[in-house]
Structure formats: structure tokens, C-alpha cells
């Protein structure tokens, strides 16, 4: 059962490497938290704090929670979520024609 959920009492702030590992190895929990529909998630590297950036299609911003908590060893950690309706579908960039 996923432990990615809206905030509970007294979780500590997640470190960058913890969130990276979470997104890398437990992406299905993130997708479950975001619900149906395409989305892109990532970690901004602008130095303004560790947070998850979620991009969803227009009109779907309510899909994104305000923050996510998950377990790292025995710790409950929390990471803020920043959402924008700026999702763009990514495609492999070779060029093929008939």
C-alpha cells in the first residue's frame, strides 16, 4: 500500500536525494497520488528549496496535492508540490518520414 499521501503530523522535510530516489524508484506511487491523466514531475534545481514540480494539462491542476509524504527508513518525510498547467507531451526526437 502506498505511503505517499497528504501531510500527516510532524514529518520532517525531505532531502533532495530522498525525493529523487522516491521519484525514481516509487514512481507508481506518485502516479497514483496524481490520479488519471498525463503528468510530468521533477525537481527544480533553482536553489529555492527542495520541492516537486508537477506539470499537468490545462484544467487539471486540482489533480496535484499540495505536498507529499512518504517514508524513508523509519522517518516520515514531506516534500512540497508546485503544480502548473504547462504539461507538454514529450516524444522521442528522431525524425522519420515516408
Amino acid at each position: 500500500m502506498s505511503d505517499a499521501s497528504p501531510a500527516k503530523a510532524s514529518p520532517r522535510k525531505a532531502l533532495f536525494s530522498e525525493v529523487r530516489e522516491f521519484l525514481r524508484e516509487r514512481s507508481e506511487e506518485v502516479r497514483a497520488a496524481l490520479g488519471d491523466g498525463p503528468a510530468e514531475v521533477g525537481l527544480p534545481v533553482d536553489g529555492k528549496g527542495v520541492r516537486i514540480k508537477v506539470s499537468v494539462p490545462a484544467g487539471q491542476i486540482d489533480r496535484a496535492p499540495r505536498e507529499l509524504t512518504f517514508k524513508v527508513n523509519d522517518d516520515q518525510v514531506v516534500v512540497p508540490v508546485e503544480a502548473d498547467e504547462d504539461f507538454e507531451e514529450a516524444v522521442a526526437q528522431n525524425h522519420v518520414a515516408t
Partner: protein, 385 residues
């Protein structure tokens, strides 16, 4: 070659002594003088004699010369030196300059018209055929497609194995046909999508393409894992590798210092645990077949995103997200740029470009690329070359 050098010196002395006289003669139409090879050949081509070269706005025919009562050029030329044409001991060559020689004026326009006056595209066209491979050129695996389907991606970067064999790295979907390729498949340059109609006509079969365009053979790739009904696997890289001959790689200084050739190793991205700041400048650049040289900024890492392929959508995690900087006049990447190596400001390789959208480019982190392609190839550690 002493004789050749002596002749060059003698001709240069002649030009220094007589160029003004030639240029001041209004009857000969000369607008510039120099020393070159007859028939405007390259200076290092000894098959053509050295000559005094005179530039004219337009080369006149003998009939036009007679109609305009202009003196024979050789006579006019010799007269400048106080001699007759029969006495000239040097070759002379008249070259049509195509018009007057004049300084290239700067372009001025009101600031409200910024961007309205574009120029010609860059002189180095990464879609052209090159004798030797360099980073950024278009490449294709034509098997199972040519000539009915034409495609192109980009040569990303070079590596060597333990035995010093040389490889070019690109994407699986560029040279390994989304897992459907075979080891030994030919890799050609330019990409088949960039062949002219004449080339397509004269190389209508794949064996002809191989004969004329092959630059390497596919060696290994990492499979792209597509979702099943039960499972959506994570993908970390989209990478393939092809062995190339040493003599097929351009290692000239021009190729090394330009278009991403002179790689100074690889660099893993490190981010501060608390602030989330990257430990290097986020500014990156790449050279790719379609958009050429572009500059961007790494805006996020650990990106998880579905990516569309010909064979369906595959889910990628732990990717790098890049946006173009304001200095670009277009996107950081577009279709055909897949496989490009992405370099930081210190010219270290940080990623392998493989996907994107109009406003965003997605790249595999280079440490994961190297780990997985090394394992797939199975020839020991790979090092940047």
C-alpha cells in the same frame, strides 16, 4: 619545395610592385590583384601553376573586349610592368568576382523591427554529408526501413573501450530501431532523410547505401521497456552504440573545438540536499542535426515522464529537463536531434538528448547512460574519447 616557394615570393614581389599600376588603369577592369593557382584552384594543389590573379567585376568575352575596344588583358598587364605580353614570364589568371568588392555594411533597423531581418543559415550544415564523423551530424540505421522509410537522428559523442576501439553513442530509437535492430546493422551518414533526390535515386538499395555512406556498425543497445497490461516499467536511458573506424572520425582541431567535439570528460549532476541548487552552472549546449548549436538551461532533474515512441509510450524516470535560453531563436531541440550529447559550460558531457516537446527537452543523465551502455556492450569500461 624551394622552387615553388621561390616562385611564390617572386610573384608576391611582382604584385607588390605593380598592383597599384594595374588597379589605377581604368581600361583593364581590374578591381583586385593577388597570387593564386591558375583557374582558382586550392593553393596546395601543385597540378595548377601559380599565377598572378586579377579580379574583375565581370569577365568579358573576347567579342565584348573588341566591341568595347578594351586592350587584351595580357598586354595591359604586361604594360604595367613596362613589358610586352610576349615577355611575361608568369602565368596570369583573370577571375570573375561576381561584382564589386566592398565592405560588408552593418545592418541597422528600428528596434521595433527587431528580428525582421534574418540572415542565411550557418555555413556548416549538419545535414550534409561529411567525409569524417563529428559530433552533431545526422545518422541513421537504414535497415528494415530504407528506402520506404527515411529517418535521421544525431551522433552524440565518442567513447573507447578497454582495447581502444572507437564508438559513437546515440539513442536506441535512432540507431537500434526501438529494440528491433540487429548487431552489425550499418550506420550511415548523412541520415537517410537528408539524402538528396539524386542520391536516393542512385542508391536505391540498401547495399548501395552501405557502400557509399556507412560509417560504422551497431554494437549494442539498452532495450526500451514498454508498458504491458500488468506493468509500467521504468526506463532510465535510451541509448545505443556503434563501432566506427578510426579514420572515419574527424579529429581535426576545427572538429574538436567546434560543434561539441572537444569533450572534457563527463560530469554527474549533483544537487544540494537542502536548497535543491545545482552544483554547477545550469547552462548547457548541444549540437544536433536539426537545430544545430543551441543553448539551454537545466531546469529540473529526477524528471518522471511518459515519452511517445513509434512503438508506443514508454515511462522514463530520473531524467534531466532543459529549456532553451533566451539567446536561441527557437527550441533547444526538435525532431532529428535525438542522440545529441549535452555539454555544460566546461564542455563536460552531462546528458544524452532523446525526447522533447516544443518548450522542453528531456535527456538521460550521463552517468546512467555510461553505466548501462557499458554493461550492454560487455567490453569493459568505456571512456569518453
Amino acid at each position: 619545395m624551394p622552387d615553388g616557394n621561390l616562385e611564390m615570393r617572386q610573384l608576391r614581389i611582382w604584385v607588390q610592385e605593380h598592383a597599384i599600376g594595374l588597379l589605377r588603369n581604368p581600361d583593364n577592369g581590374v578591381i583586385g590583384v593577388g597570387v593564386g593557382r591558375k583557374h582558382a584552384g586550392p593553393l596546395d594543389d601543385d597540378s595548377a601553376p601559380l599565377s598572378v590573379t586579377a579580379f574583375v567585376e565581370r569577365k568579358l568575352s573576347q567579342r565584348e573586349l573588341r566591341r568595347e575596344a578594351r586592350p587584351d588583358f595580357a598586354e595591359s598587364f604586361a604594360a604595367t610592368a613596362g613589358a610586352s605580353a610576349a615577355d611575361l614570364e608568369m602565368e596570369i589568371d583573370v577571375v570573375d568576382a561576381g561584382g564589386a568588392i566592398q565592405p560588408l555594411a552593418g545592418l541597422k533597423a528600428p528596434s521595433t523591427q527587431r528580428g525582421a531581418f534574418g540572415g542565411k543559415p550557418p555555413a556548416i550544415d549538419l545535414q550534409d554529408r561529411f567525409e569524417r564523423l563529428r559530433i552533431g551530424l545526422g545518422i541513421t540505421n537504414p535497415h528494415r526501413a530504407y528506402p520506404n522509410y527515411l529517418g535521421v537522428g544525431t551522433a552524440g559523442f565518442f567513447v573507447r573501450d578497454e582495447e581502444d576501439r572507437l564508438y559513437v553513442v546515440s539513442n536506441n530509437h535512432v540507431i537500434a530501431d526501438e529494440n528491433n535492430a540487429q548487431v552489425g546493422d550499418s550506420i550511415v551518414q548523412p541520415g537517410t532523410l537528408d539524402l538528396t533526390r539524386a542520391e536516393l535515386s542512385t542508391m536505391g538499395a540498401i547495399n548501395q547505401l552501405q557502400q557509399h555512406m556507412q560509417i560504422g556498425e551497431l554494437s549494442a543497445w539498452v532495450d526500451i521497456q514498454f508498458p504491458t497490461k500488468r506493468n509500467t516499467p521504468n526506463n532510465y536511458v535510451d541509448v545505443a552504440i556503434a563501432e566506427i573506424d578510426e579514420n572515419r572520425r574527424d579529429v581535426s582541431e576545427v572538429a574538436r573545438i567546434g560543434l561539441g567535439g572537444n569533450m572534457r570528460g563527463i560530469r554527474s549532476l549533483v544537487v544540494d540536499e537542502v536548497t535543491g541548487a545545482l552544483n554547477m552552472s545550469p547552462r548547457v549546449h548541444k549540437a544536433g542535426r536539426t537545430t544545430g548549436w543551441t543553448e539551454g538551461e537545466i531546469v529540473n532533474v529526477a524528471v518522471a515522464i511518459p515519452v511517445g515512441y513509434g512503438g508506443g509510450s514508454a515511462f522514463f524516470v530520473d531524467q534531466i529537463g532543459i529549456q532553451p535560453t533566451a539567446d536561441n531563436n527557437g527550441p533547444f531541440s526538435a525532431a532529428g536531434d535525438s542522440g545529441s550529447g549535452i555539454f555544460n559550460v566546461d564542455h563536460e558531457l552531462v546528458g544524452l538528448l532523446f525526447a522533447g516537446s516544443p518548450g522542453r527537452t528531456i535527456a538521460n543523465p550521463i552517468d546512467e547512460v555510461m553505466t548501462q551502455i557499458t554493461a550492454a556492450l560487455g567490453r569493459g569500461p568505456l571512456r569518453p574519447a
